[in-house]
Symmetry: C2
Subunit: 122 residues, 2 copies
């Protein structure tokens, strides 16, 4: 891959992460994902438990689709929604990389604290 | 815990998740976290690699602090920034719960596909 291509891939991934994080920054959208995490469902089934209008739920669903977090396919006359776990993998990967350094540090601090306590109790 | 308290805790957690996801939905803010994931740093050190103004970086830092993703403490005249890994744990926990169902389903589908292929090759 050339450097320019490499930068394009990086920019595309950054844009995807922007969209996924922004999509998840809303309690109604997270509730929709919670529902779909128990199994795929029709749009009307997803909308049913919410007190907001079907139109308002549909807007949230479109944000989730645009971010790639959920997918839609047709089964006859029904529109079926399901989670695209790959988009969550990408987010998870990012958090994992960020956290690794700190976990190592906290482990080391815990070991030091443990040693100090042993000395204290002698 | 009473039901009302339970709802308050739920609402507080939802508000925290909203703030964390919104904070992470920006490439500059994720780059700041990347920098801090390699170790705590002064505000000026964090700002240095960016082509935007110190003032613009400071705004991003304040968004990250308000969401609880990063923390600030003073060491003499310096303001030191570090990641608060607990906020990322909460996000990670949410993603994990959401994904578990689907992973189970994908595993089951893979087993079925594997069995069908064995039958085919007989």
């Amino acid at each position: 891959m050339t450097e320019i291509e490499d930068r394009k891939v990086g920019a595309a991934r950054a844009a995807r992460l922007d969209a996924v994080f922004a999509a998840l920054a809303d309690p109604t959208r997270r509730a929709i994902i919670d529902r779909l995490s128990r199994g795929e469902a029709r749009v009307t089934e997803v909308a049913e438990p919410f007190s907001i209008s079907l139109n308002a739920v549909s807007k949230h669903i479109r944000v989730l689709e645009a971010s790639g977090v959920i997918e839609r396919h047709r089964k006859g006359r029904d529109h079926i929604l399901s989670i695209n776990t790959r988009s969550l993998d990408e987010v998870d990967g990012w958090i994992e990389r960020t956290r690794r350094y700190w976990e190592g540090r906290l482990d080391a601090m815990e070991r030091v604290a443990h040693e100090l306590r042993k000395h204290d109790s002698r």
